[in-house]
């Protein structure tokens, strides 16, 4: 793939997302409201538990985790299923298939611009605020580097899952239900809404063997457990890399098969 194509699409994405200033403001307000709910909810949970530490996490641990998970969600959520579904329903997909570029890559890089803006406008401010308010709850060191690597892989896994689900729209021609289902599953099993430490035992183990926890739980644990030994960090990254490759291959394969179906049977 030519690098110039990638840059031009990213650049367009940045300009495009900057056009909708109001949208960004609304998203920020919505997140604040969500976080207020989260704060009171967990406060209630901790006060009814009667102890300071629940499942190995203090109240502030949990809150930091969830605030950062929300910030990460804003940054990584791609709405690719929507985009693909709309493309398919409107028939615009035909035009995108006729670009001299693979559709999977085209969609990803078209979207990548909003990563950049979201990173600077929501994730980074949240991160700085959390780091400042909690006075060193976030260890700043080599773990930052691992965190960046981890997030990059998380983005890739998240995209692969989205693309896989989006491809299903080729068959169903409906978007709504599929998208909601995907969102609920990913949000719950990835640890974006409830830290995985709180899951009951059999589920916890099962979740560890699924790709979802590599999206939110993995980068956050790399970031927040900065003092743990490098071996466990490497294991986390290793699992992520494994899912990164597996999901990429799966989504590519499924797309290829589906596209072949379409060229033979018509859309």
């Amino acid at each position: 793939m030519k690098l110039k194509r990638v840059f031009t699409l990213t650049r367009a994405g940045i300009i495009e997302s900057l056009q909708f200033r109001l949208g960004t403001v609304v998203i920020v307000i919505g997140n604040l409201l969500y976080l207020i709910v989260v704060y009171f909810l967990w406060k209630a949970i901790y006060s009814s538990a009667g102890t300071d530490i629940v499942n190995g996490m203090t109240f502030s641990d949990t809150l930091i985790y969830l605030v950062l998970a929300t910030a990460l969600f804003n940054f990584m959520e791609m709405y690719i299923v929507w985009e693909m579904g709309r493309d398919i329903q409107s028939g615009k997909i035909a035009l995108n298939l006729l670009k001299p570029m693979e559709y999977r890559g085209f969609m990803f890089w078209s979207y990548s611009g909003s990563f950049v803006t979201q990173f600077f406008f929501t994730f980074l401010p949240t991160f700085i605020v959390v780091a400042a308010v909690t006075h060193g709850a976030i260890h700043i060191g080599i773990n930052m580097l691992f965190f960046v690597i981890s997030v990059i892989m998380a983005v890739s896994i998240n995209y692969s899952i989205d693309f896989l689900v989006g491809t299903i729209c080729l068959y169903t021609e409906s978007i709504w239900g599929i998208n909601i289902m995907k969102q609920v599953i990913v949000m719950l099993l990835s640890g974006a809404t409830i830290p995985i430490a709180f899951f009951p035992e059999p589920l916890k183990t099962i979740v560890y063997y699924m790709p979802f926890q590599s999206i939110y739980n993995a980068p956050l644990s790399v970031l927040l457990n900065g003092t743990t030994q490098p071996q466990s960090i490497l294991t986390t990254l290793g699992i992520q890399l494994f899912w990164c490759i597996v999901m990429m291959l799966l989504s590519k394969l499924f797309w290829k098969i589906s596209l072949w179906q379409i060229t033979v049977n018509g859309g």
């Binding site: 194509r5 300009i15 056009q19 035909a94 995108n96 001299p100 018509g266």
Partner: protein, 333 residues
């Protein structure tokens, strides 16, 4: 001149589920394996030369879009061969994409939120157009249409006409060998239609780009196409130049005359006298469809003049529209 498109006996069949009626039927359909085969394109062959403008016509549902999708590589033919610019389109879709440009009626390939110039820049990089070629192309565009005010306008704020114009320019930007225009003038006003026709014509002349145009507007055909291909129900009905088409059903001309009095009555009387030709009357005119192989218009006119007092007359050539309508309705004998 070499052939840019070579199509040999292509056929395209779709498997369609037989849908049943009602709620119960819909539930049954979920598990149904009851398919029927629909043949959308049936044994079509044609060759198109570099630089031609071909009008690809047919009534709705005739199989036009299916053929175009096969030429662009979105669909694979069930049988037969297609070569576009030497490539098999469905096997080398991305490679083929470099050689073709498309405008699909109402859909836009432009970036909705961005000014037009940004879309051009993105397309330039995606298609790998060199700076020099890009600037030459923009200069050419500027000489053909007044795009300066459009360049910095976001696409979402454009009128339909402006957007179609922009989409056509975008399709030609990477100097493709062949451009597919699927109903480019749909929903546009008269002056915009004329502008777009002039533009397509000029780009075809300037760049020797092959244009394949589907349309329901015979104005487009008359203004642009040297050659037309007509298909219906998947079968090819006609493939020849446009002059041929008019002589296709004999050389008809329409003579219209005005006589004082009850036109309907006169029309019947004239029909009895002439018997060879179709005669009809509306509020103002009596129309006589004359086949010039049987009688000359002037002979008919003088014959009529000897028995009626004709106040006024008009002579109409049969329009492409009427011939096409006749082909759609009656087929080719």
């Amino acid at each position: 001149m070499s052939n840019i498109v070579e199509i040999k006996n292509i056929t395209k069949e779709f498997k369609v589920l037989n849908r049943r009626e009602g709620l119960k039927g819909s539930l049954k359909d979920l598990f149904s394996r009851d398919y029927k085969i629909v043949r959308a394109v049936d044994n079509i062959s044609m060759n198109i030369k570099q630089g031609e403008i071909v009008g690809y016509l047919g009534p709705n549902g005739a199989g036009k879009s299916t053929t175009i999708k096969m030429m662009t590589g979105i669909l694979e033919p069930t049988s037969g061969e297609i070569l576009v610019g030497g490539n098999v389109p469905y096997r080398n879709r991305t490679k083929n994409a470099q050689e073709i440009g498309v405008v699909f009626g109402q859909r836009s390939q432009l970036w909705w939120a961005l000014p037009l110039i940004e879309s051009f820049k993105i397309l330039k990089d995606i298609y790998g157009v060199s700076d020099k070629d890009y600037n030459n192309m923009l200069a050419l565009y500027k000489s053909l249409v007044d795009i300066e005010p459009l360049l910095h306008k976001p696409v979402r704020q454009m009128s339909l006409g402006q957007r179609t114009l922009s989409d056509i320019l975008a399709a030609f930007l990477h100097d493709p060998k062949i451009v597919f225009l699927d109903e480019p003038t749909i929903g546009l006003d008269v002056s915009m239609k004329a502008k777009i026709r002039t533009l397509i014509h000029a780009l075809n002349k300037e760049k020797n780009t092959t244009v394949i145009l589907t349309t329901h507007d015979m104005g487009d055909v008359d203004a642009l196409c040297q050659r037309i291909v007509i298909i219906d129900k998947g079968k090819m009905l006609y493939d020849n130049d446009i002059e041929h088409l008019k002589g296709f059903f004999g050389s008809y001309r329409k003579l219209k005359i005005r006589i004082d009095g009850d036109l309907k009555q006169y029309a019947e009387r004239i029909y009895d006298e002439l018997s060879d030709f179709k005669v009809s009357a509306d509020d103002e005119w009596i129309s006589i469809l004359i086949d010039e192989e049987k009688a000359k218009v002037m002979e008919v006119l003088s014959q009529l003049q000897s028995s009626y007092e004709i106040r006024d007359m008009q002579l109409e050539e049969i329009s492409t529209e009427e011939v096409i309508k006749k082909i759609y309705e009656e087929g080719v004998q």
